[in-house]
Symmetry: C2
């Protein structure tokens, strides 16, 4: 499609904390000339053990903040927020909204070879049933699978273990053993990593699951979906410019708190040092919750 | 002191989440006829890995909510909030404020037999240096100890392990081994459990530390301090009534979120089922942050 007004505005990405930087990283690799604005709700992280109403309230503030920064697309990098708040945000926001669940489901349905499909995530994400619904209903041209073919696992301790930098600690090995044994025993051939923190445990999870299980990283799947959506809507940055000479996009970070080990954890998710961080005050978050009318 | 106006109002207790229920439990045992109003900021828990400014902002809203419920005393059950926000709250609130750090320090100084004193807590609590300052300065009639006699340990994973109910999982044993080995090796004779979640791991921590280390549970110490303070101020409930026939006080719970496994986790901290819970909306929290002037 021909370039539409607003094509040169940034893409907004929000997450409950720093985990969504794995999504920003995949997006920047796939769409290097797009400006990316990240918001991490580090003051209120985690979302994964909290109730639906709370997560919806927080997600509306997070998205509202990105809208106030003039983004052309909102990406919900947090699996729990995608599970609970995507419909609400799609109805409220004046720009398109993409979550991580649909792209993850699509990739898993393409990858499975007829065996059980596993999903691991926070209690919120698994409890919402959104991955399960997506796998049963299918997406686009892909038919769904039977409920009996789906095996899920709630893994609340993986987020704090990754944030502590304990990916290779023997305790993490024991935790993964407890969480993954039922999925391994069920013989899953495809495992969705349903949380932005889990890609940092990919090799450890792969070791527990064995070579027969393909791991689906939602960040990669989401980056592909974002590219297709922007192209469809005529909102890709390069659509409006000569592709050859386009410089790398600007990366901008907004956080509601500067937490413990922030620089170290941020760099681990992002793959490079995190710089130019702005903190967002509680008052600014409150004001951002009053979303503008859809238009 | 003779009963002062307001002696029959409730005591307010707040915490970042459900851990402070161990403090409520100790208070109810010590002061059974007092009405107790608990607020747990379950929507934004944990505080222990977050920055000082964020914790102060949250603590002011939490305390403001208790003030709006008419309490006569505010107890900061959260160690991280006590570390970062106690001075600010004492300056802002129209009622007396007690934190968990001073009582814990006092108990530890009475318990130590000349050996090193250990403190374990969240990164926020340990990083604030408040326990260390208290131990060095001493309290009341107790002289402080040399900085060289203090050994600290940041234990960010213990909160999520307790919330997952994994106190007896082998992974917790490995985590405790990593956290406690330096304190055990230093030969600490007194260990302050500087987080409201840790009393639930008391027997496991005791097993790792060995019999030479006395464990200081701040909840017990705080309950004693609260009783003394209320007596000094003429604000004990029984001061105004015939002691004999006084019925047990009312227990009231307000939470900003109904989180994962809330009933199960709450009962574990409280020692009985948690009932009559009211949820507090985000808007109500925002309004509570505007503390009334001191008077």
């Amino acid at each position: 499609m021909a370039p539409q007004p607003g094509y040169d505005r940034p893409i907004g990405i929000f997450d409950s904390g720093l985990g969504g930087l794995t999504v920003l990283r995949a997006l920047h690799r796939r769409l290097p000339c797009e400006d990316l604005v990240y918001f991490g709700d580090t003051a209120r992280v985690p979302y994964g053990t909290k109730g639906a109403r709370t997560v919806v309230d927080f997600a509306r503030q997070d998205a509202g903040l990105l809208i106030s920064l003039g983004v052309k697309l909102v990406i919900v990098a947090c699996n729990t927020a995608s599970a609970f708040a995507l419909d609400n945000l799609r109805e409220s926001l004046p720009v398109p909204v993409l979550g991580v669940i649909e792209p993850g489901v699509e990739t898993a349905l393409r990858a499975t070879r007829g065996g059980p499909v596993g999903v691991i995530g926070t209690p919120g994400t698994i409890g919402s049933g959104r991955y399960q619904e997506g796998l049963v209903h299918g997406v686009a041209d892909l038919p769904g699978i039977a409920t009996e073919r789906i095996v899920t696992g709630e893994c609340p301790l993986l987020v704090p273990l990754v944030e502590a930098g304990w990916e290779d600690h023997p305790a993490t090995d024991l935790v993964l053993d407890t969480y993954l044994e039922p999925l391994r025993a069920a013989g899953v051939d495809t495992l969705i990593l349903g949380c932005t923190h889990y890609p940092l445990l990919k090799s450890q999870i792969a070791a527990h699951m064995g070579p027969q299980a393909a791991l689906v990283d939602s960040a990669e799947a989401l980056a592909g979906a974002a590219e297709r959506l922007l192209a469809e809507l005529g909102l890709r940055r390069r659509d409006g410019l000569d592709e050859g000479g386009l410089p790398d996009g600007r990366l901008e970070y907004h956080l509601s708190d500067i937490p413990w080990k922030f620089a170290e954890i941020g760099a681990r998710f992002l793959g490079r040092p995190i710089t130019d961080v702005r903190t967002v005050s509680l008052e600014e978050m409150e004001a951002a919750g009053h979303l503008p009318p859809k238009g």
